[in-house]
């Protein structure tokens, strides 16, 4: 990553209007928490929550695919975790479908719970992908892009900007790229970045695209995610 990229990331962090880090970096300030995988998810959700005028949810990235090996230290490192009323996990389905990722994540959460990371904390997973557990904290899992298909945050982004003028440039480009001998592993990301490259301003990634208003937050593609967030 170039120095220029780093500068942009830190700038984005500074201007995030809500959910900015509190005085103590790992001290949770709100009673509702959404745990996400990476910084793009963090930036997107922070701006989307602002769009929805939701102020009582905090978003924290775990820095990778969520598993017991990073979830347990995450829980232990973040003060006030045992004061949470609700926890949402928003994760990518990646190459499997949402049900597969849901099942995988519940196994990881149960593993952490069995280790009793914090006195008094009980993590109980929902029975199905569209439910929340009833314990305190309530737990819900949303698998991107739409709680059903395979894919990731970039696919949700592409669904939201479908039909936008820039997509006309992206489609032939992605066709060309996909015919290369050694095409990009993540075609969704390639398409998303190609679409972003058609814009007047060039943010970094789909997280930055949220900051620059490139996402269509009014898209019906976000309705299921919106319902999940409002139910938290």
């Amino acid at each position: 990553m170039s120095e220029e990229d780093n500068k942009e990331i830190s700038l984005e962090c500074e201007i995030v209007p809500i959910n900015s880090y509190p005085k103590y970096k790992n001290e949770l300030q709100k009673k509702k928490l959404i745990i996400v995988e990476g910084k793009d998810d963090l930036y997107f959700l922070n701006y989307y929550l602002k769009h929805l005028d939701i102020m009582d949810i905090e978003v924290r990235p775990i820095g990778g695919k969520i598993c017991s090996g990073n979830l347990e230290p995450f829980i232990k490192s973040h003060r006030n975790f045992n004061s949470l009323k609700a926890i949402g996990f928003i994760v990518d389905a990646d190459d499997h479908n949402a049900a597969h990722e849901f099942k995988r994540l519940t196994v990881e959460i149960i593993t952490v719970n069995n280790n009793s990371p914090i006195p008094g904390l009980e993590l109980k997973c929902p029975d199905s992908i569209d439910e929340f557990s009833v314990n305190s904290p309530r737990i819900g899992i949303y698998v991107l892009p739409n709680n059903f298909d395979s894919g990731r945050l970039e696919d949700l982004f592409l669904n939201c900007v479908r039909g936008k003028p820039g997509m006309a440039c992206v489609l032939p480009f992605s066709t060309c790229v996909s015919e290369l001998d050694d095409p990009p592993r993540n075609l969704s990301k390639m398409k998303a970045l190609a679409f972003i490259a058609t814009q007047k301003e060039l943010p970094r990634g789909v997280g930055g695209a949220a900051q620059h208003g490139i996402w269509d937050f009014g898209s019906s593609e976000l309705d299921k995610l919106k319902t999940f967030i409002l139910s938290l």
């Binding site: 970096k25 820095g63 990073n70 347990e72 230290p73 995450f74 232990k76 490192s77 990371p117 914090i118």
Partner: protein, 373 residues
């Protein structure tokens, strides 16, 4: 060498603390050979070390006074005795419990106040010309509510058999009175040492070093000190009990001139080497050490404690200190995986929690830049 639990050596497995100093109630489980207790100021890290220190020999009343001394308090001032009780609540006695290795594996200590007319007032009435007590009375400005404590200790062995002892500590105008366990003397086999930042300069470093020299272990000490300053050629003790270092100059120089980090390193390693099979408690372990010396310090502590089978408890509020331990542990993961815990003490309103971090937790938190403190 992997540390195996040897039931002939002293080792704490867990502790429960109730009503002691700032701690209303706290339980810490799953202690390992190396235990670093972290937390913000006021999280009562030092009080946890003091509890463990007292529990090394629960029948010894003088350990209570020493904990005040370690904090730089006047040990025989009865007003300071009150500081042992949480919120000055004498009605609720102090309760300390620990699960240890050895035969007397579960020990419970209940510390109750001894009431009576305040010792200072009594001494003033009885002996108005006793200057020292009068001075103390007027300086303190408060009437001490208690003038001593009773220690009721119970030891439960592996077969569930209990033995109970009672001892007393009284602060009277004639001086401090210790009444040792009754009906018969208790022989405590556990050994331990407490290193306080308040008394590092005053610990009997020379005496400790002398033991090491007699045991022909000087080379090991020099090897440790050279990690901080490679020019040290030799070390010895003067008749004035000053520890001198040979830096290659025409004269040897007191070790103090090499900085507080060097003195700290020497004190810690000597304490470990002279507490074989016992417990070493180190308050504010990073105190006096530069961040660049922390790796060397942890390496020395781990190597010495492994060799001499010592359980180590330390407190710190330094992120660098935690990172250094995590780095050293990560380098020797196959040897230390089950030997290290970091405990963060959280105070939430009136309750306390201890969050334990194993090596994986520490490594991940360091990688992700999460603050364990």
């Amino acid at each position: 060498m992997r540390f195996q639990i040897n039931y002939n050596i002293d080792m704490f497995f867990s502790v429960k603390i109730k009503g002691f100093r700032g701690i209303s109630g706290l339980e810490i489980r799953d202690f390992k050979q190396f235990n670093l207790i972290v937390g913000r100021n006021g999280s009562c890290k030092t009080s946890i070390l003091e509890s463990l220190y007292i529990l090394i020999n629960p029948t010894a009343p003088d350990l209570l006074l020493k904990t005040n001394l370690f904090r730089g308090l006047d040990a025989i001032n009865e007003n300071n005795l009150e500081l042992l009780f949480h919120n000055f609540d004498y009605e609720a006695s102090i309760l300390l419990e620990a699960n240890m290795s050895g035969n007397d594996n579960y020990r419970v200590l209940r510390i109750k106040p001894r009431y009576g007319i305040g010792a200072s007032i009594k001494s003033q009435i009885d002996s108005p010309n006793n200057e020292s007590w009068d001075e103390r009375f007027f300086q303190s400005g408060t009437i001490p509510a208690i003038n001593g404590v009773t220690l009721e200790s119970t030891f439960t062995d592996n077969e569930g058999k209990k033995r109970q002892y009672k001892s007393e500590l009284l602060l009277e105008k004639e001086g401090t009175v210790f009444r040792k366990p009754s009906p018969k003397a208790y022989v405590e086999k556990s050994i331990g040492i407490y290193l306080s930042p308040e008394i590092f300069a005053r610990v009997q470093t020379a005496t400790q070093l002398n033991k090491v020299l007699i045991s022909k272990r000087k080379d090991h000490i020099l090897k440790v000190l050279r990690q901080l300053d490679p020019v040290i050629e030799d070390i010895s003790i003067g008749l004035d009990s000053t520890v001198y270092c040979d830096l290659g100059f025409p004269k040897m120089v007191p070790i103090n001139v090499l900085g507080s980090g060097m003195y700290k390193m020497l004190s810690v390693v000597l304490a470990i080497e002279n507490t074989q099979g016992g417990i070493v408690l180190i308050d504010e372990i990073e105190n006096g050490m530069s961040p660049t010396s922390l790796d060397a310090m942890w390496k020395a502590i781990i190597a010495s404690a492994k060799e001499f089978e010592v359980q180590v408890f330390a407190t710190s509020h330094s992120l660098e200190c935690i990172r250094s331990l995590g780095t050293i542990a990560g380098e020797r993961l196959e040897h230390l995986e089950d030997d290290i815990r970091v405990y963060r003490i959280e105070k939430q309103k009136e309750s306390f929690n201890a969050i334990g971090f194993n090596i994986n937790d520490i490594k991940v938190a360091i990688e992700k830049d999460w603050d364990l403190r």
